[in-house]
Amino acid sequence: MNNQTLKQNDFYLLVGPASLSVQSGEVEVIAAGIKAGQTLEVPSGKRVPVKAISDASLELKAPPESFSKMETSSIPEEWDNLAGRIASGHIMGRLYNVMVLGEVDTGKTFFCTYLANRLIEKKKRIGVLDCDTGQSDIGPPGAFGMLVMNSPTVFLSEEPATHLYMLGAHSPGLHFLPAMTGLSYMLEKARAGVDVLIIDTTGWVQGDGGRALKKAKLDFIKPDLVVLMQRGNELEHLVKHLPSSKVVRLPVSKKASPTSQMERKSLRELVSKRYFKNSRVFEIPFKQIITDRCYFLSGTPLPLEGTLHSERLSGWEGTLVISSGPLLMEMTKGWPKDLGRIMNFVSGHEKGLLIAFLDENQDVLALGRLEEIDFLNNCFRVRAPFPGDLNSIKCIQFGSVKVTENGEEAGFLEPGSF
């Protein structure tokens, strides 16, 4: 523990893990004021600039080298100018969309947080939509999260998401449609509750998939402003169709440091573990719910000898057969000949699948982990941090990634498996 005295307009960099308590005066961290008596916890792997709004004394729980003085602010003045431009450009009663684009590790989330905090100062109702399901700051990995902010915050990840939408994967690849429907869902929520929506996107901006998805999102959102956070001109191909008045180019801070694949995985798991921390196991009877993004329980029951579950699907889709092991020729000999294509799923492979509980409005109540589909008792067994009324669960939506009981990553299930 050490004490620090700051003069007004001093700038420092604080590297986590660290705890900063303001004893007197006021400091600002990512445009969020921290007054005397308040404490900020900086998690491991995070680093934040600290600006003294007035002379201030701080108590730090961190190694001395974690707190270093900077010559000037690391926040460019144009970020503040941009906040002013957005605030003055917003028309009451109409949602103002800001879409932030950038490759991975360009500081998009940091910028979104700063911008949101500055706009809150200007008495705007702010929503931040996190579409980066592989590096989620709002909500757990695998889901879009929106935070409707009531007050400035330093780390978006410290606040519970106001709205969630499950993508079901850590990348929109093979999940383009849920990515677009999720965006539509979140825009509807934003129109109902905020003045300015800041949309934080994935770093997938190149190649067929990156170009296709980003252009589709730009077409769909029709943003009032697109912020490009680029090192050179790597994003220009995405905005050629937009008038220059709608595009703002910001250079990437030299302090934006690259994170390795394994670091990104660790950060995802940290968020996921925290989300699943207070989970418990629920039993949800088949008859209580409908299923979404799967074939299971969407057809007509058709008991077949030797199976755990079978049902006739729609038209040419054939028959879904769930068995305790791979189907053998002898098992199928006595079955009707008009089953069409047999879609066989071996029970047990669903264990660990990410799912979402939805209510009657198809709003996400919580994300969970499928423990098992219990064919003996005709119920789903799901682990989830859901404190609400079980009867409000009307639908179970299936994702494609798997997690352990603790929220660690545990592989995938091929989309369309059951």
Binding site: L174, H175, D208, G209, R211, A212, G411
Partner: protein, 139 residues
Amino acid sequence: MTFKETDFPSIFKFLKSILREESDPVLIKDILQQLIKLYEDVPLYPGITHMCLGGITKSLPAREVLVGQRIYIRNKGDCYIGTVESKDSDGVTLKHVKIVTSEDELEVGFKEMEKVTVLNEKILEELWPSLVFKKEVER
């Protein structure tokens, strides 16, 4: 034209290159098995599967093979596949060997034919004739 929404086509391009470059049917089968394993491990990311495919095989100087390695040897029209049991200055001894040879002519008795398969190259025409198009002559 638009953009591809999946990287699966790149896997087909890889398969095409393997068929063009490899004449050892056992090696091709083993590469396919590795491809399927990769896909089953990461079914959400065909692009990553494709990225890994380039590293599935590597050619190395004959004298650098190690005891215990399964190797695929091509010599003119013949292929030998096996695990290196021992190695000396002249060459290696393989075990669990499969040999694929080329012959201009071969007589085979029906009794020696456990299973016979022929290819149907007109399957698209049979199942989905509306998708069979006349090739436009390139100028």
